[in-house]
Amino acid sequence: MALFPLTSNFEGDFVLQLVAVDSENTMDEVAAAAAVHSVGRRVRARPGHIMRVRRQGGAEFLPRTLKVSESGLKPTETIEIIWEAPKA
């Protein structure tokens, strides 16, 4: 359990923002923490979508249950939060 700063690059938003999470948070929790600062402020919510986390420039999303402490992310590293459309 430790405070862990990350840099949020939220799909549709215009600016990188500092997001404080916990090292034991999962990627879903990280995405939710990032969303607080973008969704409803400058980005519209997308009902039904899931917010996924990936490393900047990464091709794959990080697993939703992966913890920050297991992810290899460095403090202040930039993550992209991407809307994933519901599967049809």
Partner: protein
């Protein structure tokens, strides 16, 4: 008694390079301060200043300029222009004075370095006059806003801003410390006078003067036009120095300094001048868009200045040309959204009519920047004001110290440019900012951005209140919407009309 013509004695009188005998040349002109680039004194004697002015001429001309600007101020003092002008225009003045006045005064010290330490006699003469110019600019731009301090506490930031840790001032100081306070005389001539003043001050002092005249603020228009006449003279200090460097095989070093300074100047203007021109200035008073001014003053004129000098366009010119349509929209949205951290009240500038203008000047604005503003406007219309303010810090660039941003909405393109150096992860807003850092990492590596300071626990308590205290923003000083959100009434009416069917 007959007086010799200036040109019969000027060159001789300013040829003041002596042959030192009691000290070495390096003691007389320490290389760290003189920036001789390994060139001996006699190489610098070929420096030929294009603007030859003597001290008596200077005093006479400056006296007339001062008389003009101060008499316009005196004549219009009772006109209540400040009281009656659009709040957006007041914000232009507040932003300008706070960002510029004390920086001008600091520039006197940079000019003084050229005056004392340059090995080029002609540069020493021009910089003597340039130093006096900058003192004049500092004095005027503190004196003119002073009459408004009793009416509006934010006007006090004309003097106060430079001493604070307000984020935009950290950015301004980082840039000016880099290009003028901590460089040798020759580098100052290239980075401050050639790159920053020739390239960019026309934008602030002529472009803005045109808007001021349109807005009926003739005091401000006269003041900044008067200043620009000095700038256009002492901005020419750097050109002949570049010529000497290029002739002596130092083109690469000269080019690097130009490239670094032009980029930093661009970033600073994107946050200061861009929002002023495209959002704060009332629509009916806008002469040209920021992009159009940039294309006229920087792309057309400065490009020519560079190539005439024998230099190349900076390697990032394509990136720059793309950015002049985008970056300042982000700087405006960012500074507006984090408005309590400003010492002025930003005008939103996003009524339907203003958005039409933005869409016309910047095709695609509504699908990109407008998407973020749509959410913001809905919150204002709904009275959901808590969501119109931030609850965290934007991540800022470790070079320009400004938010790292890009295009939002349907054209989403935002990117971090990270770099790990000596075990520390740095973040940059562009490839160019990172390149500047890489040119001389040790020069910049120790600096802490506002976010670094926050993470280091230097800002307490660790929330907006603590951040505002750290930035010296007292109640009554921190920014809010210039028009108290009156601009949103039209959106409320549109929604009511829609609901009524």
């Amino acid at each position: 008694m007959a007086v010799l013509n200036r040109m019969d004695w000027y060159d001789l009188a300013r040829t003041t390079n002596w042959t030192p005998t009691y000290v070495t040349e390096d003691e007389l002109f320490p290389p760290l301060l003189s920036g001789a680039f390994g060139l001996p004194q006699n190489a610098w004697e070929k420096y030929d200043e294009p603007y030859k002015q003597t001290y008596p001429e200077y005093v006479k001309v400056q006296r007339d300029k001062d008389a003009g600007a101060y008499s316009v101020k005196a004549a219009l003092e009772r006109s209540r222009i400040f009281e009656n002008s659009d709040p957006g225009w007041k914000s232009v003045m507040k932003a300008h004075y706070g960002a510029i006045a004390r920086g001008e005064y600091a520039a006197a010290s940079a000019e003084a370095r050229m005056m004392r330490f340059s090995k080029a006699p002609g540069m020493r003469n021009m910089a003597t006059l340039g130093c006096l110019d900058e003192i004049r600019h500092g004095q005027m731009q503190l004196y003119f806003p002073h009459e408004h301090v009793s009416k509006d506490r934010q006007m006090d930031w004309a003097f106060k801003a430079y001493d604070t840790n307000e984020w935009a001032m950290i950015a301004a100081r980082h840039f000016f410390d880099d290009i003028m306070m901590t460089r040798d005389a020759i580098s100052v001539s290239i980075m401050l006078t050639f790159s920053f003043e020739t390239g960019f001050t026309n934008m602030q002092f002529l472009g803005l003067a045109a808007d001021a005249a349109e807005a009926g603020d003739h005091t401000f228009a006269n003041l900044i036009s008067s200043i620009q006449t000095d700038e256009s003279r002492h901005a020419q200090i750097g050109g002949p120095a570049l010529k000497v460097l290029i002739e002596n095989g130092q083109k690469a070093e000269a080019q690097k300094r130009v490239d670094i300074a032009v980029w930093g100047a661009w970033k600073l203007f994107s946050v200061l001048t861009g929002p002023i021109m495209d959002y704060y200035t009332p629509l009916e008073h806008r002469k040209q868009s920021f992009k159009e001014f940039m294309e006229e003053w920087i792309v057309a004129q400065f490009e020519r200045a560079l190539t005439d000098m024998g230099l190349e366009l900076p390697w990032y010119w394509d990136i720059f040309l793309n950015d002049i349509s985008q970056t300042h929209h982000g700087m405006h949205l960012g500074s507006y959204f984090w408005r309590p951290t400003l010492w002025w009240n930003p005008a939103a500038g996003v009524t339907p009519a203003e958005r039409d203008w933005l869409e016309q000047k910047y095709p695609g604005w509504n699908d990109t920047w407008g998407q973020c503003w749509d959410v913001f406007i809905d919150n204002v219309v709904d009275g959901n004001m808590a969501m119109t303010y931030p609850e965290t810090l934007p991540y800022v660039c470790n070079m320009c110290q400004l938010p790292i941003l890009g295009v939002p909405g349907k054209g989403w393109n935002v990117k971090d440019y990270p770099l790990e150096y000596n075990g520390r992860l740095y973040h940059f807003g562009s490839e160019v900012d990172r390149w500047v850092f890489e040119q001389e990492p040790e020069r910049y590596a120790g600096h802490l951005s506002i976010v670094d300071r926050f993470l280091a626990g230097m800002i307490q308590p660790m929330n907006l209140e603590g951040a505002l205290k750290y930035m010296n923003l007292a109640p009554g000083e921190m920014g809010d919407d210039a028009h108290n959100y009156a601009w949103a009434e039209v959106y409320k009416a549109m929604r009511a009309a829609k609901a009524a069917g």
